[in-house]
Symmetry: C2
């Protein structure tokens, strides 16, 4: 009889979370910049509190449900870092009326008009960051786009606050050397600081310059003019981050624990009870130098099983096999053996779970359960 | 102000669910075979009750958490159709002691030994189906493999029950014509019936012959010897099923409702607030005749927006664009517009949500919320 949870489950190594947090903190302290960690990866109170030595502090969220969850736990300074849909403004205002300094994000004139109209109508001085496109990755206004000033003017005229600018250097996930990541960080810094300066020259206070991908946060060597860094994946890390050198595989604090339940056709694979419902189908390393497929497999004591990958998934089965192109025997993993599958993308794997089973460190039993916030 | 739920949310059209259920029921009634629907797709009580005209009946589950959830709601005849991990037997036994006739699945001698040992030690006459590999797709014993009889003998000697055989013709998802799907159904039927006959000839009762993929359930024209059909995806359907002709796009009962929040770089795409957290990253049509990428987009009244696909996803953003290779203007979807994203794989999309917002039919408001079972 085991007292460990039934598989599959999401296992977190608390010592690794602490180590990951401490490393980034030391780096950002040395650069003299504040943190506003993104809590979207863990969506849990405990690892977030660890970032603030048990207290609360400024955070970034990806949904209003997260904002409400963390507000209930005492967080009062929250950035909702997804472009605002006008229909969500009433919910934003409700949080602000509870005493939460909730800042919203936008990057279009149409959104700015909707926010300004809402601010005027409800006499709500909503604080807004304008998203800056620093690398053509997804969203945002270019730093020299005339719309930047137009958006700020519409906001201010309507009684909302143009509090500053924000960028997410999503392109940095594809920077594969420290030099390239450092260059991406500088590009992100330069574009956001320039945009903020344009706003200030036009008469807007724009006190906030927010940057934030995990690679750029670790690689930056100068953050002059930046007021906050949002990196969030750092609490758990994953194989995408390890693949581009932001962390080592040993730093990955999250894994899915699975049990071997059989063999595939021709004994060419091993089946476990952790399917995509437990790991996600994220293929984030599919186009990278080393394709880790759906995850890298370790023993239940954390040793990497050389070249053993999760190469396929059904709903409640994973298919483990030797890395394509490598000649190696499958390891001897009898039915009932537990293994761990390291996540390709910690955000996606974590999102498949209601809670984490937490150990203090390698070799320690599960002694804590951290609940995650859900939904939108 | 809208009274509709905040986006993103999972919307279910109850009238389509009813229609999908009725169609398969009529087909299986005509073939004279019983149903044991797989509830893994919806994981919800309401659509499952619709299958049984409001009552309960035999069901198939993909996790023990589902078995417990449905047992709590009065279901007493449950097949847990994932190869059993020996550590889960105690939990299986607890459900059986509650009066649930829970059947388990296995396909190896090692699992059979573990089950037999457990049955002997606890005097629990566990009923077992042996998984048959009918198409080399994932798991199972070949119907003529000597291990089939060895497994049954081990089970019976230990005091467990060799209740029969089960197959899942996973290969049928790649059968793209009614003829090929019908052939897959016959192959599944033939292999399972043959395997059951071998068991019976060897002296095992083996009353159950269980088959089940959604394509084969719809395509079968003869199920002689089969005692139950497990198809489950049918309640919602999805673009994979529509792509191989098992249903039409209009039959897809599940969608993710999203709000337009911006434009991508160069105005070449439209951003919404439904990312992979809402839709999943399933790329199930990626290798098919028509690649629907991450989903097909409709208006909020259900009309397909021609060639508008969800071609990219971040955590809380989807990127909508015209199908690659097609020359067409992006539709005029101003910020705040609601759209629906039809799921590539309903199981994966549904798994991203805690509940469904349910409308009685097209044009009707949300009037019900169906909760999903979670975890393992």
């Amino acid at each position: 009889m085991t007292t460990s949870p039934d598989t599959p489950f999401a296992r977190v190594d608390r010592a690794k979370v602490e180590r990951n947090i401490a490393r980034l903190r030391a780096h950002l302290d040395a650069l003299g910049v504040s943190r506003r960690p993104h809590v979207k990866t863990s969506k849990a109170l405990e690892p977030t509190a660890m970032i603030f030595d048990g207290g609360t502090g400024p955070i970034t969220v990806s949904t209003l449900a997260e904002a409400e969850f963390f507000a209930d736990a005492g967080y009062t300074d929250i950035l909702y870092a997804v472009g605002i849909a006008p229909t969500k403004l009433e919910r934003v205002a409700r949080l602000r009326r509870r005493g939460v300094d909730l800042t919203i994000l936008l990057d279009t004139v149409a959104q700015a008009r909707a926010v300004a109209d809402f601010a005027t109508e409800h006499e709500e001085s909503l604080p807004v960051l304008i998203e800056i496109d620093t690398d053509g990755h997804r969203a945002g206004v270019l730093p020299d786009d005339p719309q930047l000033l137009e958006i700020a003017r519409i906001l201010t005229d309507g009684g909302a606050q143009a509090r500053g600018v924000m960028a997410h250097a999503g392109g940095s996930y594809f920077a594969t050397t420290p030099q390239a990541q450092c260059a991406a960080a500088e590009q992100e810094r330069r574009a956001t600081v320039d945009a903020a300066e344009r706003l200030r020259t036009a008469g807007h206070a724009a006190p906030v310059v927010s940057v934030g991908s995990t690679p750029t946060a670790h690689a930056a060597t100068d953050l002059t003019g930046v007021t906050e860094v949002r990196a969030g994946n750092v609490v758990f890390f994953d194989l995408v981050m390890a693949g581009i050198g932001v962390c080592t595989i040993d730093d990955v604090a999250l894994s899915v624990v699975a049990t071997v339940i059989g063999r595939g056709p021709d004994d060419a694979s091993i089946l476990t009870d952790a399917g995509w419902t437990a790991t996600s189908s994220d293929r984030g390393t599919g186009t990278r130098a080393v394709d880790q497929h759906l995850g890298l497999v370790t023993t239940d004591t954390g040793g990497v099983l050389p070249d053993l990958l999760m190469i396929g998934a059904s709903r409640e089965h994973s298919v483990l096999a030797i890395r394509p192109g490598v000649e190696r025997e499958l390891p001897d993993l009898p039915i009932g053996t537990r293994v761990r599958i390291l996540p390709i993308h910690a955000c996606a794997t974590a999102a498949q779970h209601d809670h984490y089973e937490v150990v203090a460190g390698e070799g320690k039993p599960v002694t804590e359960r951290w609940q995650r916030c859900h939904g939108w």
